[in-house]
């Protein structure tokens, strides 16, 4: 088990390196000039050149990349004298649009994104798996057919539509829930919960539909296996057969999808955040695109990549926990 994890970790480091290089190349190949962007309206060529030097943009590409990577692990100082700034580890550079360190920008909005992702994840996994198992157990029944029809609709609707409909009915028309106004859970958990409830549901509907279908088809597959017949031949109650034998065997693809989907959400749920006015990673990313704020874009992209790669590692470890045949390889 330990060599298996170590091997996966080595692969992970290599992947992150490749990812950072590609991200850096892609964004710095975009034809913009951060030096003049950060200079303001009344700008002289000398000021641009000074900015460029201060940001290290007059260095060759590979030096810039090296400095950027180094800063992540060692921190970095920009400029000298009274304009000097220190950027702490992990340093992802400086945003001239926001006049803030990129790391500070991200850490200030990250909690919103994390809460959004975790809450939605819990809702959709519970609803999806539970409904999927029931639909499989009563395959062909009215319940099953209803679930299949509803999930098809839920799966096909775009999240901005679901979000807007929920917003219109629950907030505007019926006024069950106030318009989301983000409050940190440490401050007032009740308000936080009411604020996050609709975004969670909006995000969860789409995923719950998918996980219901995935769970159902997995269950139907495994229910035909010989070892399910053996479990029944032992005289186990059908509940135990389904929960302990069939579900466990069909779990692997569900875990795979869940890991990647959760990691994807940690990278920011742009549309849901926009609709409910939440300032998370997604809305920061959108702002950064609008303003061509490259240092933030690179950081968020890389972060999204890290989430996916780490989620993959966790999924791999979970595989080994679920399936003993993976462990011995």
């Amino acid at each position: 088990m330990v060599p298996y994890i170590v091997r996966r970790l080595v692969v992970l480091v290599g992947m992150l390196f490749a990812l950072s290089l590609i991200t850096y190349i892609l964004f710095y190949a975009v034809p913009t000039d951060p030096a003049s962007l950060s200079c303001g309206v009344h700008c002289t060529p000398e000021a641009v050149a000074a900015n460029r030097h201060r940001l290290g943009l007059d260095d060759p590409f590979y030096i810039q990349y090296w400095n950027w990577v180094k800063a992540i692990f060692l921190g970095r100082d920009f400029g000298t004298g009274y304009v000097a700034m220190h950027c702490d580890v992990p340093c992802f550079g400086f945003s001239w649009n926001r006049q803030m360190m990129v790391t500070d920008v991200i850490t200030s909005v990250m909690p919103v994104t994390i809460y959004l992702a975790i809450g939605a994840f819990v809702v959709w996994m519970t609803v999806g798996i539970f409904t999927g198992i029931l639909a499989a157990r009563y395959k062909g029944s009215i319940f099953d057919r209803g679930v299949m029809a509803i999930t098809l609709v839920g799966f096909s609707l775009p999240s901005f539509f679901i979000g807007l409909v929920i917003l219109i009915f629950f907030v505007v028309r019926w006024q069950i829930v106030p318009y989301p106004n983000y409050v940190p859970p440490t401050e007032d958990f009740g308000k936080f919960f009411m604020c996050m409830l609709l975004p969670w549901i909006t995000l969860a509907i789409l995923y719950a539909a998918y996980y219901t279908r995935l769970t159902r088809s997995q269950m139907l597959d495994t229910m035909n296996e010989d070892y399910i017949r053996t479990a029944r031949a032992k005289g186990l109650p059908e509940k135990v057969v389904i929960r302990k034998h069939a579900f466990r065997a069909g779990l692997t693809p569900i875990v795979t999808s869940a890991g990647l989907d959760f990691a994807g959400l940690l990278g920011g749920a742009i549309i849901t955040e926009k609709i409910f006015g939440l300032t998370g990673l997604g809305s920061v990313a959108i702002k950064a695109v609008e303003n061509l704020d490259l240092s933030i874009l690179v950081a968020i992209t890389l972060l999204g990549g890290v989430f996916v790669v780490v989620a993959n590692l966790i999924v791999d470890i979970l595989y080994a926990a679920i399936d003993p045949r993976v462990r011995v390889k």
């Binding site: 017949r229 053996t230 031949a233 005289g235 302990k244 003993p324």
Partner: protein, 361 residues
């Protein structure tokens, strides 16, 4: 009464005959007029037609036949393992003082694994790949007995030792993929017998195994039967296994019993052309000639022949007058005290053919 005779797809129920066994134990399982059909997109599949048999304590009954002859389906129906989705099961199965076909699913479920157990053809796919064999054995105990995990585990270990798993206390935490095919089948047998059932149904228990291992597994089953007095229904297409273990034999063809009798009589005095064909297709040591397969293929269970189900493949149908083999389904007729067969040939004709062709020698 001729207007009551049904013609066409299913064997008429008047041919349903209970053949007494030579075995003298108490009757444990009594299957009476069992029929199973499946609804499919292509039509109604008549998988089992009017099958009747009895199994006695300590007796081994072998059910032989080709793939699709209904031997597995009939046993799954006895165990209540067919599921009710598209299978239609009729008839009676008396076991443990209850009639199982009309009993609730939960009643049958509580008998499964406790009083009647089953082992399957491929032990690798029949064991759950994600649980250790110890866990799976313990589960078989705790499903029926209110005992502690430790007691169940001790019982599991005892059974693993009993079925001949070497260093069982170490292997008990192994997973199925870490065991050889023969060991897996031993685990399956341990699991089936762990609650000391009265009836064990073994569905082709040796088919997926090496020949040498096959012999060991058969030997093991025979030993355990002697020790526990379990009645065994063994489903197989291996006549060598039948000769080895069976007291009585049912030969199935096209979903119905074609012949039934004590094992000696089935081998030395078979009464039905299909059984003759089966016996002729056994390879014998020292035989130089070619094997003698039965020409043709088994019938489609959706469109069973109107007359004798075996007639299209039967070499002797011309000996029956009036083309009866093609038009009338033969009754399951008593041919001896413990013997019955489904064939239009007369006793004299069968005797002559057996002598001519050296069948049963």
């Amino acid at each position: 009464m001729s207007e009551l005779t049904t013609e066409g797809n299913s064997v008429t129920s008047s041919t349903n005959v209970m053949v007494p066994s030579t075995h003298k134990g108490d009757v444990i399982l009594s299957v009476n007029d069992l029929s199973v059909s499946f609804k499919t997109h292509d039509g109604l599949v008549q998988a089992v037609s009017h099958l009747s048999y009895e199994v006695r304590r300590g007796q081994t009954l072998a059910i032989v036949g080709e793939s699709g002859s209904g031997k597995s389906v009939s046993s799954l129906a006895v165990m209540g393992l067919l599921g009710s989705d598209n299978a239609n099961v009729t008839g009676e199965v008396h076991f443990d003082g209850k009639e199982l076909i009309s009993s609730s699913a939960d009643t049958v479920r509580q008998l499964r694994g406790l009083k009647m157990a089953m082992i399957f053809q491929d032990p690798l796919s029949a064991l759950h790949p994600y649980y250790s064999i110890g866990k799976q054995l313990v589960e078989a105990v705790t499903a029926h007995q209110d005992v502690s995990k430790e007691a169940a585990r001790a019982r599991a270990l005892e059974m693993l030792n009993r079925v001949g798993i070497p260093s069982a206390e170490k292997r008990i935490d192994d997973y199925p993929h870490q065991l050889s095919g023969g060991m897996r089948q031993r685990v399956m047998i341990a699991m089936a017998l762990i609650n000391d059932p009265e009836l064990l149904i073994a569905d082709e228990p040796t088919t997926a195994l090496d020949v040498t291992v096959q012999a060991q597994i058969i030997e093991l089953l025979r030993d355990l039967q002697k020790e526990f007095g379990t009645a065994i229904v063994i489903i197989t297409h291996d006549l060598g296994v039948v000769a080895d273990v069976a007291d009585d034999v049912i030969v199935m063809y096209g979903g119905a019993a074609a012949e039934q009798g004590p094992v000696r009589e089935i081998f030395y005095q078979p009464e039905m052309p299909y059984t003759w064909g089966l016996l002729a297709s056994i390879p014998k040591a020292g035989d130089e000639g070619q094997l003698d397969p039965i020409p043709g293929t088994p019938p489609s269970l959706i469109h069973l022949p109107k007359g004798c189900v075996f007639a299209p493949r039967c070499a002797f149908r011309s000996q029956v007058p009036d083309n009866a083999c093609a038009t009338t389904r033969p009754d399951f007729e008593i041919t001896g005290p413990n013997h019955a067969a489904r064939c239009h040939l007369t006793t004299e004709q069968r005797k002559t053919i057996r002598l001519d062709r050296k069948i049963g020698k």
